[in-house]
Symmetry: C2
């Protein structure tokens, strides 16, 4: 027998019949146990267990207006930054008895808007991660469902933010302390909010410390782009390279190795995100760690909280710290004593 042949699902009616009560009693036995007499409740629950009854959430949702689903919209599941976030969000959603609808937009803002619109009715709210949608589009979809942003700010939309400026500041200070005075920044995608954050923090801190920074890019946030960028960066006559993210940094690192440029002896290299493989590279990458799993968890909490609250409530953004992990891809610039 194949799965398709499964028997008609057992409903609340079956349970009521078996328990010799009405369906409302069964319903109450589940949701308001206190209000039903102990022995009646027992009978109902036992009958339910015996029949293997589980309430149909869709039917419940129809009447309560709550689906117990949350949507999670990410730009690219395969980008190593996101799995941890997805995992965190999934775990928290499940812990809070919600299912997670996952959508991958392939980095396309139009897909993003369309997908959220399509999902609106079947979820209680959606979490949009690193959204590339315009503020207007964001405002529009926020009308359709409860929206929570991760790693993106927009007016009147609650968000889980990563303090990338803080991490970047640490990175620049680290470089400066080592003796670096000229660095190059490898820009990420132009439309990326993360890139703007990282870039401006880098510029501000550099300026404050009197470091020169030249900029290259924009580049795709990929390993291949890093390979490409490495040669350009080398031509810039800087002693340190700060990449938009680890993927790019890893590409740079590989290309530098291929060209025989020693890291960190000839040039220092800093990544961003601290993806799993940053620490596995050779040399292990100095990078800014971003708490992706925590962001996923917090986003779910924030969403569920927002749904529960009356609108126009208090300020409820979350801000998560990021911090520099110093590993072996950074050191004093050439000609500078190692200690």
């Amino acid at each position: 027998m194949r799965g398709a042949q499964r028997k008609r699902a057992v409903t609340i009616n079956d349970v009521a019949a078996a328990a010799g009560t009405s369906i409302s009693t069964v319903s109450r036995a589940f949701h308001e146990p206190d209000i039903v007499r102990a022995d009646t409740r027992e009978r109902a629950l036992e009958a339910a267990a015996a029949l293997g009854y589980t309430p149909n959430r869709a039917a419940r949702g129809l009447i309560t207006g709550r689906t117990a689903n949350v949507g999670l919209v990410v730009p690219d599941v395969a980008n190593p930054f996101f799995p941890a976030l997805i995992k965190g969000a999934q775990a928290r959603a499940r812990a809070r008895d919600h299912a997670l609808l996952l959508v991958d937009t392939d980095e396309d803002p139009n897909t993003e808007a369309q997908v959220i619109r399509g999902m609106a009715k079947q979820v209680d709210g959606v979490i949009a991660v690193s959204s590339r949608m315009s503020d207007r589009a964001l405002a529009e979809v926020a009308q359709l469902t409860t929206l929570v942003l991760v790693n993106r700010r927009a007016v009147d939309v609650p968000a889980v933010l990563l303090d990338m400026a803080g991490g970047m500041r640490q990175a620049v200070e680290h470089l400066h302390a080592l003796g670096h005075r000229r660095c190059v920044y490898l820009n990420g995608p132009r439309a990326s909010w993360s890139n703007r954050q990282r870039r401006s923090a880098l510029r501000a801190t550099s300026k404050r410390l009197g470091m020169t920074v030249s900029e290259l890019g924009p580049f795709e946030p990929s390993y291949d782009a890093g390979v490409l960028a490495a040669d350009l960066a080398l031509a810039e006559d800087a002693t340190a390279i700060v990449a938009y993210n680890d993927l790019v940094a890893l590409g740079v690192n590989a290309r530098l190795a291929a060209r025989g440029v020693a890291v960190p002896d000839e040039v220092s290299l800093v990544g961003f995100d601290d993806i799993q493989f940053a620490s596995m590279a050779s040399p292990p990458l100095t990078t800014v760690a971003v708490p992706a799993a925590a962001a996923g968890r917090d986003a779910v909490d924030l969403l569920l909280e927002t749904i529960g609250h009356a609108p126009g409530g208090e300020r409820d953004d979350h801000q998560l710290r990021t911090e520099l992990r110093v590993r072996h891809s950074t050191g004093p610039p050439p000609g500078r004593p190692r200690a």
Copy 2:
């Protein structure tokens, strides 16, 4: 105004009223356009568009018995093998107008069973990837919903299989052709079906070709386990190491580098899966490529197909090829001429 304040969702009644027709006509305008007169249809569709109406899938599901949801159950989203699969499955599901409910079981068979049971009512079927459930548990949940397996076989449950034996055979032949005669295999988790597949193919091929293989493990499928395993493997006096998967191989590789053991000059190293970072390692890893994204896509197709068909239909397993990608972590054993 916050999202929570959104106005009551527009229903089919609103559209019918606006279009001056009955709700059934509106419904038909959407699902059986041909059967409704052109101008009536126009009016209905226009009214729907004007009001921003989208059918409530839960309500529809209640009556059609189809939810347009599919469940995807994976052991660990953060394991680099799965994101590609998830991405493939998500894309195909969306293309076929289905939503994807993602669940991460943290490698726990009990969670797995429980999750599928809980999901059964809100999906049309579920795809279980690399399931560690017992055959009995599998048979039980297959009763509850339409089940499709990926990378696991069980009686009477359709599956998308990866021909790991084929890839492993290629790997061993490759090693043998290079001149290797003694290799060590680093086992993955004991309960893993993948490990059994890989291990037995390796043993069979080795035997056929007259290679000795010693086994170590079981190890967790992780980088750290690889680091640990490297030293043990070295003590085995073999000229080649075959790891359960790339993560392990990468750990081995790092540890070998740290100990100053040259790959492939002193020892050859083979991984499995061809995760993104296999090609980024130094040296780039020779590994067996597994078409994860295709597996995800095929699983969705197979599931939807199975749901559509009458039960007990024809045989419908998919088998996907795997193939060796020769990169730079394998070469002739020491003392053997390089050409």
